[in-house]
Symmetry: C2
Subunit: 102 residues, 2 copies
């Protein structure tokens, strides 16, 4: 089970792509959570870049977007996030992937 | 072969979701092209909503994002678009899908 990768509006897509590629290589899956249009955009770019990284290893990835309701901040505010589950058609079994926040 | 669905920053996600669901039902695939962060966000929301529509019919969809270089406008300006190919794991064979711009 991989940790959730949080991508923000100021995340560097290529750095997030590296984390996605690591998650795929180690767990066969990566989960990304974003809030807001610009963060969604950065996450999509990161997934597109990660596809290129992984294609070089013969791995073909796809993603499944879904809405997720999360609570954040001191006042426990409820927000609607977008969650992307990235998977490969050639799922790998591996060790736990230690996620990172960008 | 389905036509390309163009989603913009002012597209209504539920309407675009209906077009995606139609494309999937008729061709087993839908292609979406967007330019700009807000359009990417609307497209991702539309795909997430379409997943809900199609899940009711027992269809499970996923998407593959990629960069695409396109030329638009009178001066043939080159822009980087994001292209989403939406597919189902239960690909259907059907008639041509007549795409729509939202």
């Amino acid at each position: 089970m991989s940790q959730v990768l949080k991508v923000s509006s100021v995340s560097e897509p290529s750095a997030a792509a590296g984390a996605i590629a690591n998650g795929i290589r180690e767990c066969g899956t990566a989960e990304i959570q974003v809030i807001g249009p610009r963060a969604v955009n950065q996450a999509v770019k990161a997934i597109a870049i990660a596809r290129g990284y992984l294609a070089a290893s013969g791995l073909d990835v796809y993603c499944v977007p879904a809405f997720a309701s999360i609570r954040i901040g001191a006042d426990d505010e409820e927000k609607t996030a977008i969650q992307f589950v990235v998977r490969t058609r050639h799922g790998l079994r591996g060790s736990k992937w230690s996620g990172k926040t960008f």
